[in-house]
Structures are given as C-alpha cells and as structure tokens.
C-alpha cells in the first residue's frame, strides 16, 4: 500500500495522477483500464478540491493498494472536509436531449460507470471514498 497526502487543489491533479499511474504501471495495468482509473481519480480528486474545504483549503489522502494475484486496484480517498456522500446524488438522466441535460453532475456518474465497486463512508470526521477496479486484461481490452 502506498499513500500520498497532498493539498486538495486542482493544480495538484497532475501530481496525484503521476502517483497513481506509477503504481498502475508497476503491475502492468492495461492502458485502457489505466485511462478509466485516471478518469475516476480526476473526478473524485477535483470534487474534493472544489467542495470539501470551501472556502478554505485542506489535504486529501490517497491510498493505492494493488493486489497482483487478484489483479485488482483499490484506491481510497480521504478528506476532512464537510460530510458529503457523492453516491447519494441522483444519477443524471442520460436519455434527455441536449437542451434538457444539465451541465454538471457527470463526474460521479462516470466513476460509478467505469469502476467495479464504489463505496462511501463518513467516519471520525473523514469522508472516505473507495473505488475498486479489476486490472486483468480481458479480451477486447488492451
């Protein structure tokens, strides 16, 4: 398990992705799955940066656990900002027309669509969001 504690600022997104990607590369994660994980990490980290501590700033902790045998990656995001369960938000209606579609609300939806498992818990003053993804190369994915 590797951990990164970093100020939750959009400007730190590249550093966060660099930290995650380094570990994905170590276990030979297929590029397509790496892109999906990067996407989930971006959406979650940016949400923390934009909302958790407003108008102040604060830190976010990322824990990356890779399981080479089971070919899974588990990433935990922790912040001490306002309690916020992103999974409680209603999914956007993706059958609406462009005119009806709202700008926004897509980030968490993308996380739910691309990760195998997403869990949220508020504990001891911390928002803890965990995503899990299989990194096993499957047919048609590389």
């Amino acid at each position: 398990m590797k951990e990164l504690e970093i100020e939750a600022l959009v400007d730190n997104l590249d550093a966060v992705l660099g930290f995650v990607d380094a570990q994905l590369e170590e276990i030979g994660c297929p590029p397509k799955i790496q892109m999906q994980i990067d996407l989930a990490v971006e959406e979650i980290f940016v949400n923390i940066a934009n909302y958790a501590y407003q108008p102040e700033t604060g830190n976010a902790v990322l824990r990356v656990e890779t399981d080479a045998e089971r070919q899974t990656v588990t990433i935990t995001f922790i912040d001490r900002g306002v309690p916020y369960d992103p999974l409680a938000r209603e999914d956007p209606d993706i059958t609406q027309s462009a005119e009806e579609r709202q700008i926004g609300g897509l980030g968490v939806f993308l996380v739910k669509q691309t990760m195998d498992d997403v869990r949220y818990v508020y504990r001891d003053g911390m928002n803890i969001l965990t995503v899990c993804k299989s990194v096993a190369a499957r047919e048609g994915q590389d």
Partner: protein, 98 residues
C-alpha cells in the same frame, strides 16, 4: 492540450490534441467563446484526443446547446476509449459523432 483552429466562412474546425481534462477544458471553453458568431457548422476533430473527463463533456454540451440554435456540430475521429466515455454518459445520443 493544443487546439488547432481553422475557419472557412461559416465552418469552424477545431482539431484538438492531447487531454481534455479539468485543467485544460477551460482553455477549450475560452477558445469557443465568441468564436461561434456566424458559425453554422462546428467540427471537432478528435483524432488526437487521448482522454476526456466530465470537464470536457461539459464544454461539448455547452457548445452543442449553442449550435442547436444556429447550425450543426459534429465530432470526428474519436478513438475507442473516448467513444466509450460518450456512450456511458449518453453523449452519443445528443452529439453527432462520426
């Protein structure tokens, strides 16, 4: 991300290279602001786009809403991964992806 912009009468083509993410999407939004006056055909060439997140989708949705009032908008050459993002968000139904 780099944006190569080409205007030909009422046709505006934006060939984009790189990642359209939280950090770069505002640049694309800015490039579109004011550039759509008198445009009836807006084309995004996505051949060199490697990644798009919700921040990029928001900019595309905003552009689509604008173009619905004044003409048409098309997205060309999106790669498989980007196309999948359009599909899981239902954007393939509201954008014209060729």
């Amino acid at each position: 991300m780099t944006i190569n912009q080409k205007k030909n009468g009422s046709l505006l083509t934006l060939a984009i290279e790189g990642r359209i993410d939280t950090k770069t999407a505002p640049e694309l939004e800015k490039a579109l602001e004011g550039a759509l006056d008198g445009i009836t055909e807006l084309v995004f060439d996505f051949a060199e786009v490697s990644y798009i997140s919700s921040a990029g989708l928001r900019v595309l949705l905003k552009a689509q809403k604008q173009m619905n009032k004044q003409g048409e908008m098309r997205i060309l050459h999106a790669n498989e991964d980007v196309t999948e993002i359009f599909e899981v968000t239902g954007f393939n139904e509201i954008l014209t992806i060729e």
